[in-house]
Subunit: 290 residues, 2 copies
């Protein structure tokens, strides 16, 4: 095998994301083996040129690099533990969503068994794979990242964060947090709008472009947090950000204010500590315990 | 005065937003009078051609249409109540942030005093006024909206929602809710990332494009909510959306999980009611009390 032959990879786990990852490797000529615990998920991939392994042992033996895209941390162990001996000398790139601690545990598990390990956090939904906007964070073995990057970049923009395997899942969770809170906030807004007969779709038509337009504001909050001067000019003050109107309007619309109350609590802690004139980003201090 | 002469307007309140609104009217030739409770805010506007009134009575008397862009509902009354007689026969367009109930109160206050009333909710930060992405919602008098729309559209995309004056502020709050929860979620993520030495700015560089890319997903949630079939295919299930990993990783990073716990509570209510296989948008049902 020369350096010019595309790397062979195995993808374990053919949920929507696993199928998208495998599908992206094939057009680039990577010999791709796929496997799933339950059968019937590989049909489209076989048509596109993938080899479907019938056993996990066969799947692992087929490629020097094994991608795990499974349900959770426990399922990674369920699938890999029985084939530990086959994995020795090979590389595991685990893109299953896990906590930082779980990724560190897997990295150590791999190290003591002679398996090279890279952790990946996929910042994309399956439909976004290989398309603009797809970002995948990696941490763990820099050597693995450098060696496999030509394949990894087929999935999206690839970023290596450092040797601590927990870094990618930590940043993954840190970036998914505002996504989940935004989505939940939208459904809160939809419940408010419904009280006046405005449909969720009508609200989405107004909200989606607005949310896209304000998302880059996180850069400004970040600058203030990193700079540490919460009184820097040009910020919306915590006093002005008081969400009492939101809570009152939610109650009036029979909407549970639990979510907006959580933000209000973070704001009030700083206002009550005398920082009401400081910018909104000061709620960072309400969130940090140490 | 013919129909072809630009409408004269008065802007009361010269905070950042009020100044942006007045500044946008001048290049289009609208005779623009400005006034602020405390002096010294009008200098740039005077240079650009605005007339600065020295009393509120002069300000109101100068134009058939008076824009109020003040701190809150109470300050609208503080400013307008003393000049009620001068306002009779004129039009008030109130873009001050208020609750739906407060806007309805102002509409009724205006109606009984012979004042035409339109309520506006500005979905933009001051820098966005007159630029792409600026959206302003209106409700109340359709006649006022039709008559003033050529001026209103100078500030951004203008949308009239209906005769109930509370509609614009309701949709305003409904759209700002996911903005605030997203911003708070980002600061939560920044606190998590800091625990591993990742700066808020580095996190923002990864998070901002991602959040912009996922914002249009609110259309899909809205379709499911409006359709009422939370089991429709193609959705991420509530079970898979369980945020236990987020809570555990937040605790491990010494970050108060109050915000992510609020979303988790909304998810768990539905899972515990037996709807774990349904899509994430089902948390809408956790939010509605009636």
């Amino acid at each position: 095998m020369t350096n010019h032959e595309p790397l062979a990879l195995t993808v374990l786990g053919l949920g929507e994301m696993g199928r998208a990852l495998a599908a992206a490797l094939l057009p680039a000529g990577h010999p791709t083996t796929v496997w799933n615990r339950s059968p019937g998920r590989a049909d489209e991939l076989i048509k596109a040129g993938a080899h479907a392994a019938t056993t996990i042992g066969e799947a692992v033996g087929a490629s020097p690099v094994v991608i795990t895209c499974l349900y959770d941390h426990a399922s990674v162990h369920d699938v890999l533990d029985p084939v530990t001996a086959d994995l020795a000398g090979r590389t595991v790139i685990n893109v299953t969503t896990t906590t930082p601690e779980q990724s560190r545990e897997l990295a150590e598990w791999a190290r003591t068994r002679g398996i090279d390990y890279l952790d990946g956090g996929i910042m994309a939904v399956p439909e976004m794979i290989s398309k603009p906007g797809s970002l995948i964070l990696y941490s763990g073995s820099a050597e693995v990242f450098d060696r496999t990057e030509p394949a990894l970049r087929l999935w999206g923009d690839s970023r290596f964060l450092g040797a601590d395997a927990g870094l990618a899942p930590l940043c993954d969770l840190a970036i998914l947090t505002p996504m989940y809170t935004m989505f939940a906030g939208f459904l809160h807004g939809a419940a408010m709008a419904a009280s006046a007969g405005v449909s969720a779709s009508d609200l989405a038509a107004m909200a989606a472009p607005f949310l896209g337009a304000v998302a880059p504001s996180v850069h400004h909050f970040a600058e203030v947090v990193d700079g540490g001067d919460y009184a820097a000019p040009g910020q919306q003050s915590l006093e002005f950000s008081d969400l009492s109107d939101f809570v009152a309007a939610s109650e009036a619309a029979d909407v549970d204010p639990i979510l907006i109350n959580a933000v209000q609590t973070l704001i009030r802690r700083q206002v009550e500590a005398g920082h009401g004139k400081d910018g909104f980003s000061r709620i960072y201090q309400s969130l940090r315990r140490s």
